[in-house]
């Protein structure tokens, strides 16, 4: 029996919608079968909480007296540089930005104690942040420098806009070399000392809607503890990777760009993050509801860890050199057991994405929908799927004459 989003929203408004998480749906479908559960359940909520580097915030700082034009000048928040190539007082703060005087990897491995992701956490926590800027001065914007404390509550707009989040599946990172390596997939011990993965698996949003049949542009979501929206497909969106029979990508595939009001978010779900020897980033909490419109969509949401496969990639050579190929594939049930086998060796495995927090997000979103506070949306436009033929292209370098 097919349902429409309109019908589901009607039930949500009346407080009668049946909502379960992407984890709870697994047992439910196994016990009662697809047909019965498709009738019973209206919404499945997902969640993910992991480091997402393509994240950032745009801020409108308001005009000082006399006025200053930051566009074309330089500006810093807590010494972290922000992008000023907009109008007078709009700036963009990226999650991986570092203070100019951060030693980076000069003393290897660098510590990367504070950067963009940490400024975002401080802003959203309501802490005062130091703005320092210089400009060239114009007739209408005469001022050339400013230094002041600012607070999120006093600013005009503070908007989280992340060009690429919630990767649909990811690599399992290992190190085949004989030295420790420091990567965005964490510290990797030599000679297959450990394996790091980064996905909420069966709870992860796009793994529960593998062909993007419900999640699209305009989808209302949980973002950083508040309501946000899918703005576009994310950068590097790559729907055409290999998939299992049930449609689940076996490698990093779809992504989403998301947007939401930072003023309403919480530091619990936007955490400043450091990868030793690599840099800083932001750990973002995202939850996406999936309307159970028909049995097919329900079946997708019942996917479980043992059916989701990821590729094992060597981050000492294959990844940095951009060489194709994988050392094998493992499923998330094996990964979450804490041990996998790579090249005949037993390797301890650990996650960088928090399953406990992903579960909490799915539960919070479930609560919002059950209480009638959160209505579902029809996508304004769907994300490119397999039939789009869209791929993730490498950069073609050409000689500059």
């Amino acid at each position: 029996m097919a349902k429409t989003i309109k019908e589901i929203n009607e039930k949500i408004r009346k407080g009668k919608a049946v909502v379960v998480t992407a984890e709870e749906i697994i047992d439910l479908v196994e016990k009662k079968g697809v047909k019965a559960v498709a009738k019973e359940v209206d919404v499945v909520t997902t969640g993910t909480f992991g480091p997402m580097c393509s994240s950032g915030v745009y801020l409108n700082l308001g005009h000082a007296k006399p006025k200053i034009k930051l566009g074309g000048g330089k500006a810093y928040l807590n010494d972290v540089p922000v992008y000023t190539g907009f109008a007078a007082v709009d700036v963009y703060l990226g999650a991986t930005a570092l203070p100019d005087d951060d030693p980076r990897n000069k003393v290897y491995p660098g510590e990367f104690k504070y950067g963009g992701g940490h400024v975002i956490e401080d802003l959203v926590a309501g802490k005062d942040v130091r703005l320092k800027a210089t400009a060239y001065g114009t007739d209408c914007y005469p001022r050339k420098e400013i230094e002041t404390l600012i607070n999120i509550k006093d600013l005009n707009e503070v908007v989280l806009y992340n060009p690429r989040n919630a990767y649909q599946n990811y690599n399992v990172a290992v190190n085949l070399s004989d030295r420790v390596i420091y990567t965005y997939m964490g510290v990797l011990q030599p000679n297959l000392g450990n394996a790091n993965y980064c996905s909420a698996g069966q709870l992860s949003p796009l793994l529960n809607d593998p062909y993007y049949e419900t999640i699209g542009i305009g989808t209302r979501i949980f973002l950083g503890g508040a309501i946000g929206y899918v703005a576009w497909s994310g950068t590097q969106h790559n729907p055409t990777v290999k998939r299992t029979k049930n449609g689940v990508p076996k490698a990093p595939a779809g992504t989403v760009a998301v947007i939401g009001d930072l003023k309403k978010m919480s530091p619990d779900w936007l955490v400043g993050t450091t990868f030793t020897g690599y840099g800083v980033t932001s750990t973002v909490g995202i939850g996406i509801p999936i309307p159970i419109l028909n049995e097919k969509i329900l079946k997708y949401t019942a996917v479980k860890d043992s059916q989701i496969y990821a590729q094992i990639v060597d981050y000492s050579e294959a990844y940095p050199k951009g060489l194709p190929g994988s050392l094998g594939e493992v499923n998330y049930e094996q990964l979450t057991s804490g041990k996998i086998r790579v090249k005949g060796k037993e390797v301890p495995a650990a996650g960088l994405s928090s399953y406990a927090k992903a579960r909490e997000i799915a539960q919070i979103l479930k609560g919002w929908i059950e209480k009638g506070k959160f209505l579902l949306t029809e996508p304004v436009e769907y994300l490119p799927s397999v039939d789009s033929g869209q791929t993730f292209k490498p950069l073609k370098e050409r000689p500059v004459k």
């Binding site: 909480f49 992991g50 480091p51 491995p109 104690k113 420091y182 964490g186 510290v187 011990q189 450990n194 394996a195 790091n196 955490v271 993050t273 450091t274 990868f275 030793t276 020897g277 750990t283 804490g338 390797v347 301890p348 495995a349 650990a350 996650g351 960088l352 994405s353 928090s354 399953y355 406990a356 927090k357 579960r359």
Partner: protein, 136 residues
């Protein structure tokens, strides 16, 4: 009865160049394993030891160290798991050589067992949220 203790010894500057741990073996019959050592120039020395021996000898050995002016603290005080910063991601799990971190398979939450920690500090670099702190 044989007992085992993990302690952090802080040596004043005047004692840094004296062979002190040697007496623990020779005079008190204690077995020790150096887990970590650090001597900073013109400052104090720090030594993390696991000491094993008969209860009586252990107490005597520790008194000997104290009488010399060495500060002794149990190891656990120096390592802190800041639970509020921990997101339970598990980045520490596979990197810890003594399995001091475990994950509850039901709640999927990470737990730190101070008793198993040998202060190798690998988790400090591995934790993306700076939830492990050491004062050593």
């Amino acid at each position: 009865m044989v007992r085992k203790k993990r302690v952090v010894l802080t040596f004043p500057h005047s004692l840094v160049d004296k062979p002190i741990t040697y007496h623990l073996v020779k005079d008190y019959g204690l077995v020790f394993n150096i887990l970590k050592a650090r001597v900073t120039p013109r400052e104090e020395g720090r030594l993390v030891l696991e000491i094993e021996g008969k209860r009586e000898n252990l107490n005597k050995g520790i008194k000997f160290l104290k009488d010399l002016g060495i500060r002794i603290e149990p190891l656990a005080q120096d390592i802190r798991w800041i639970e509020t910063r921990c997101t339970h991601c598990g980045a520490c799990l596979a990197i810890c050589p003594t399995q001091a971190f475990t994950v509850d398979q039901k709640t999927r939450e990470v737990f730190f067992d101070k008793g198993k920690c040998i202060v190798c500090e690998l988790c400090i670099k591995a934790c993306p949220y700076r939830a492990m702190e050491i004062k050593f």
